[in-house]
Symmetry: D2
Subunit: 351 residues, 4 copies
């Protein structure tokens, strides 16, 4: 146990915070040494104040921890952040200034030009932004972010096609789970038997983040990918799992068979494949006519695999397809943990 890297969790009582607790409780490299939450929770036992909603029991060791204030002095060399966006800016920067590596799921810093927006299977080189970040901000630590939940599935599902053929246009309509809005989040009177065709800021996030993640790194800056993205974001009565229907336009004609081959050939590059959270197959193609489905295909790769199906021609662009990702794992806590693993693998955090 003592050989593990001590980590802390900010916003530990929320939905994503609980997922961090669950996923980190058994992690081979990391050990939770502090949990932080809001002022009014500080000083109390985690087990007493959390409204634990994960399907597995709250680990006894964590339940007994005293909740801390979110101050950089709390133990932990890596800090997983799931705090509210309106306070994340100040808090996360304070941790980075104090020498901590902040792995954040919060949106606040995602589009900062010197903060890497990481999907390790796609753009691990963006991590090199940390040098500029530390130099310009005079930080001994740093901040790395993972994408918004609906972006996470999209970029991973199309990255193999981007790498193989170059994508020029992405049309995407999402059908997103309610867990993406946290707890209490979406009222049941809005969710039951309904579709809500609006999620505040979501379409803009997908359109911007996708271009940054798929962009190129050179001379200490990211050049956005040149594609155009148009998103329609919808909330549906699903607990977990964002399903997205996508049309893609390429610079040249691409057949469904070519696309399937590229998707099936995709593997995490080099050392990324050996990270504990990287699934054997980051992208899987399901050839059944009516798959992927939100409820049935969610758990592949422990929630880190994106499933793609229905690859077929599009009347307007080149290809149509369907993709599914686990919004609270690949789209939130799992993604952040994989990013932290990358920080270790690349030597930013010593073992």
């Amino acid at each position: 146990m003592s050989a593990k890297i001590p980590v802390s969790i900010l916003g530990a009582t929320g939905t994503v915070g609980q997922k961090f607790v669950r996923l980190l409780a058994e992690h081979p490299w990391f050990e939770i040494v502090s949990v932080a939450a809001s002022e009014q929770s500080a000083g109390k036992r985690y087990g007493e104040i959390v409204r634990w909603r994960e399907g597995t029991p709250l680990p006894e060791r964590i339940a007994l921890m005293t909740v801390q204030r979110a101050e950089p002095s709390i133990p932990g060399r890596i800090t997983f952040s799931a705090i509210e966006a309106d306070i994340a800016g100040e808090v996360e920067q304070a941790f980075a200034r104090a020498g901590k590596y902040v792995v954040t799921n919060t949106k606040t810093h995602r589009m900062d030009p010197d903060i890497p927006l990481l999907v390790p299977e796609i753009n691990p080189d963006h991590l090199n932004l940390l040098a500029r970040q530390q130099r310009e901000r005079h930080w001994s630590g740093g901040i790395v972010a993972n994408p918004n939940c609906s972006t996470a599935g999209l970029v991973l599902g199309v990255a193999p096609l981007q790498q193989a053929f170059g994508i020029e246009k992405i049309f995407v309509a999402t059908m997103q789970a309610v867990s993406g809005a946290g707890y209490p989040g979406v009222p049941s009177l809005d969710a039951l038997g309904n579709v809500i065709p609006f999620i505040g800021g979501e379409e803009e996030k997908m359109e911007q983040e996708t271009r940054k993640i798929l962009g190129s790194f050179a001379s200490e800056r990211i050049t956005d990918a040149s594609m155009t993205v148009s998103a329609h974001a919808n909330r549906v009565a699903v607990v977990d799992g964002h399903l997205e229907v996508v049309s893609l336009g390429f610079g040249r004609r691409v057949t469904p068979a070519e696309a399937v081959r590229a998707l099936e050939a995709f593997r995490a590059p080099g050392d990324i494949a050996t990270l504990p959270s990287t699934p054997a197959r980051p992208v899987e193609v399901d050839s059944r006519a009516d798959r992927p489905q939100s409820r049935l295909d969610l758990e592949r790769g422990n929630g880190m695999t994106v499933t793609v199906g229905r690859v077929r021609p599009c009347n307007l662009l080149d290809l149509r397809l369907v993709l599914l990702s686990h919004n609270t794992i690949r789209g939130a806590a799992g993604a952040a943990i994989q990013n932290a693993e990358l920080l270790v693998a690349r030597g930013y955090v010593g073992r």
Copy 2:
């Protein structure tokens, strides 16, 4: 009562058949005089064999009717057809040959070049195909069809924009209710907490029917509208109501404000506005940020109004919008009844 036009219903025990019974029971022009169903039902009381699932009680008069075989000799000058597609061809043609006007919700004849695929607010002139139909097929009656449920909402929601600006491209992703699949239809294990990104034949229907309905009639033939349509059809856990997110490309730049004006200005033309089933506003624009929603906006215009919302620019085409229609009323039984009203208004069936 005696002044009403006698009508019959084929497939009267199914989901759409029951909706016909409900909507026609109080109709000002029509009176149900016979109900027909499968061989094994014939000879029994309708009330004994139907598994009535409408929210209002089954009218006593209809409950007591003896179910007929679907033969042209049954009473009724207009025949509403909701029979299975695999037998609809032969049966509906037999009725038309025998001098009946068949108003069908079944897909079988929709794309026949001499059969009008009608949305009275959009293409009432297509009804003139009946002359050719009667001459070439040697029928004294005829067949008119209404569109597939997901097409019905789409074409009405975009028709005002087609008329005002000319549409070149339509990208549409649907989130369709389970009632569209009839009863028993979609298993609950497929629907609960799930999205099924596939509905057999649905995307093709939307792509073909839309172009026919929005096409032009001249010299006894329909010329399809020249637009390109790409559809992604999805089933969601909603009882009634097809919600569709749409991107549109026009021949010229169209602003959201222009589009909203055209949508709000849209009215049913001439005598169509006076049909009993035509709503005061066939298309309504809801300006609230998160509307229309499947559960809340479904009943406008007694289920015959299409609600449009979120009219905004599209990064790829010109405009994005959301539209909602009632799939078993505007998309099925209500549409057929409105078509029958048109037959009367235009003198094909005397009062």
Copy 3:
């Protein structure tokens, strides 16, 4: 219009408040003349601050009303109250003191010994408590309450059996809709694909209110019915409609056939039958094996009819049955409006 009785609504922006607006907008006797809500809403247009969620459009006349503070000086001779329980005591009493008749859906005063807890079809004589209330409290107005939503269906469904046979024991398990908790109310993460076997205070309300409502009035006091009630309250993923399974024990053996006869014979007594909100059949028996069902049988009697089904022997008590009621109509706004009608019919409020 001028002949109608002016009424006000307290808590007009909430779920029940909106239902009041909807039901009263077309009421033959009442006319909404003021709407009141919280401090921060006062002074604004109702249409601007309400998040209208009824399926029918917000009436333009109401949308334009300026929201008032909940003070007795606002216009309206009858006041419909849907305000929060924690402030209802003081506010409702102030109105009654000022000469208004307060018809409340809030729980605060329900169990007060001098406040009638009314179901007009069952205990209209309890209204006579008003004399004592006015004398002892020195009020020129008064307060009448309707039961909690889950009690409302139960008491009406069993009242015919109580009157015919005398009930000694009631065992009831509820499956209640989320709308009973208002908006935002139950989080979708709690409701979707789930049952929550706990609703705070609900079981106690059912056990106490049932005995008061079915109790007898004499000498200006209510004597509770002597039955014992044991309730299990559960929340299920249903939008509207409380379904309850019930076992009943009587003082003597009662067969299902006798019970069905009593249920079917039940009618609203005397002048109650002529109130606008009283349904033709306050209780209907559905003899189909799998009915009533929450989604299909809810709208009977415009939501004021309780449907009873599956009347059969019980191994432990005498009879088992299932009953369904509309929780926001018969269990809230509709019940209060019917109570107000009773106040008019009995002369407390002049026409």
Copy 4:
């Protein structure tokens, strides 16, 4: 691998059959050597005809198996049966006659006086009926059954109280998942936003099976427990998990604290505790006010643990409580597998 006991699955393509495949694929004692299904499936690859709906991938080895006819000659010393009830009688008996041990989830033989209806934690001695079964029926094999899914949770949840205090009366109302009805099973139009207060035969099963399972074995016969059970069975919009609210009457006064102590003290007896499928705690008490909940507490003990909550006094009987069990694991496939393990542990099937 070669040391494992070869087993076969009858009805392998259905919902329970698939669950057998999933749970047995990794079983430490058993190895699937044949899968059988209906006539029309025989001869085809399992992977080609099954509509696999488990969340984990279909094991490749099983996918490649050729589906057999359900004839006793197929390989496998233990036969797991999930075949249709109408053919189960003849088929299962043929297997038993041929020397196979049939572990059936089908209802057909459950109430036969010489067939043990087993819950290993409760009545392992009922297995001794096999001697009579083999002698009287002239079988070299035998049949053992597990209870209906709604009975399984009930009996396990109350068994500790029965053993400690003796139960005289059970009132139970169920809220059952749709997976209990198999696939396609419950139509989504029945399940969505609805409660169906009827499941054919379910209440009778609960009332009869409970008394047999909790009964005593002596002189080669079961004497039913003398309690009275009254059940109300309901279907709700939940995928997996039967939640049941229960009132219990004992021969003497039992406090909630006493009951909780008995529930928490309950352990599987002797060798039962060492069976691979027996959970560490067959019954767990959750003291949170609103638990257990269908979606959150289902997976305890790999779906074999029954969770009990809300132990409190009952106004009519002695105690009220809520219990939850996994209907397709503890209530079906998992229960059968545990029964097969018992057959091995007790030496009926050699290792």
